[in-house]
């Protein structure tokens, strides 16, 4: 890897944390009076705002109405000034759409949607400053906002990322560690029951293993075929 030493010999990380140490978390509920629920969270240098509207009548296309439970509508976006390089499209690109979908799946597992038939709950999350672990910070912010809105949930949804460097698991990755080429695992769970709401893994190490296997298979096959054709 290019120069960056993610874990020093003494066992410290780039920002001076131990391997299993989280970043400093600061949070606040009820930041806006207009919305039904809102929250702000800082996890190290990653900062996010979450706003919840609803439950309310389904707006837009009526066809989305579900007759036995509420529709959850999530929108994830990043402020144009949130990253080192200015973002052109704050939302609507493929990465945001995927993130929105993941948030939706996570909260459908936790919010008791069956109590609000034919209505809609909107969850909007915005990253104000991005320093790794965007998904988990968003989940944490949205959880606080949903609780602030008084919407019933089975449990808190807590999320965190974990990385893997030199056989050592690192908790709550920052941007440099996420981009360092190691594997990263985002996990959202309902802590009391230990149920997992979402698990997502982006890994290079695992892929390297697979590529080795595929490589072997292809080489073996080539050899076999070449031996056969020679005869």
């Amino acid at each position: 890897m290019a120069g960056l030493e993610l874990l020093s010999d003494q066992g410290y990380r780039l920002d001076g944390r131990k391997a299993t140490e989280l970043r400093k978390v600061q949070a606040r509920m009820g930041v806006f009076s207009q919305a039904d629920g809102s929250a702000y969270i800082e996890q190290g240098n990653t900062k996010a705002l979450a706003v919840v509207y609803g439950p309310h009548e389904v707006r837009g296309s009526r066809s989305r109405t579900l007759h036995d439970r509420a529709v959850i509508n999530c929108q994830y976006s990043m402020a144009t000034f949130s990253t080192a390089e200015r973002k052109r499209r704050p939302h609507g690109d493929r990465k945001s759409a995927e993130m929105s979908l993941h948030l939706k799946q996570t909260f459908e597992a936790a919010v008791m949607t069956q109590l609000y038939p034919r209505s809609q709950i909107d969850i909007y999350v915005k990253i104000l400053q991005s320093d790794g672990g965007n998904y988990s910070v968003c989940v944490n912010a949205a959880t606080l906002a949903v609780i602030d809105a008084g919407i019933p949930m089975r449990d808190y949804v807590c999320a965190c990322t974990v990385g893997f460097v030199d056989e050592t698991p690192l908790a709550d990755l920052c941007y440099a560690e996420e981009g360092g080429g190691g594997s990263s695992l985002a996990l959202a769970l309902l802590p009391r029951g230990g149920q997992i709401a979402l698990l997502q893994m982006d890994a290079m190490t695992a892929c390297k293993g697979v590529s080795k296997v595929l490589d072997e298979v292809v080489r073996q096959h080539l050899q076999d075929v070449s031996v056969l054709t020679r005869e």
Binding site: D36, H56, A149, G150, P152, M153, D155
Partner: protein, 296 residues
Amino acid sequence: MASDMRLPVLRKAVSVSSAGSDRADHKDLVVPGDVITSDPGFMRGHGTYIDEEKLTASVAGEVERVDKLICVRPIKTRFNGEVGDVVVGRITEVQQKRWKVETNSRLDSVLLLSSVNLPGGELRRRSAEDELTMRDYLQEGDLISAEVQSVFSDGALLLHTRSLKYGKLGQGVLVQISPALIKRQKTHFHNLPCGASIILGNNGFVWLYPTPGQQEEEAGGFYTSLEPVSLADREVISRLRNCLLALAAHKVLLYDTSILYCYESSLPHQVKDILKPEVMEEIIMLTHHKLMEQES
């Protein structure tokens, strides 16, 4: 134009000891996922669910026990209507024989054509023509006051305006606050002695309007005066609006007495100054004093 700018100040933490000491009855506060009891003898109310035979909270709030029934009431939530509640709402849609009304509830409320007083007396028959001219009575964006007639199984409200005190609202100011801050009372319509009237909707929508002269019987609640409102009246209404916002910001229950006391305490200040944090604090403290005196 001079504008008032200020830096953010440190939020003061509410001291638990001072708030808790004057209240002997200690409240149980729970958060989602907290087990309230594992005794199977209790009944599950709102804001709770059964998880592995344990009664668990699903919202953050106070635990309320009525005999064997356990509920958790969240601090802040949308309006949960009950029969007889007075609401103020805004028409969002005109449909066949009904209007859809936004009332800060979880679903839009329904106002049927058959449950409004049409101009021309109570005993008028509703014809097909009425259905076609529904938009002349109430169109999208109009504000109405109404009463909850019944609640549907999915939580939607059925409204009616079959009384002369309900109907379309004319000139005035709408203030939206949390429904939890409205105190339930015998009447929610008040003609305040300061020269304005107020409708305290149970759904957190408060309507401030100049006290009307004489009621037009014929119009059946659809008459709206377009007379210009005098400057004095408008000032009173703006002052009341800012007082309501100040009371809501400090989580004081809203009813006629608290609003009047707040109005009286605000009189030494200019209307626009009421919303400044330091002035607001002073006014609310005076209001609290007056309320305490009145109680004892």
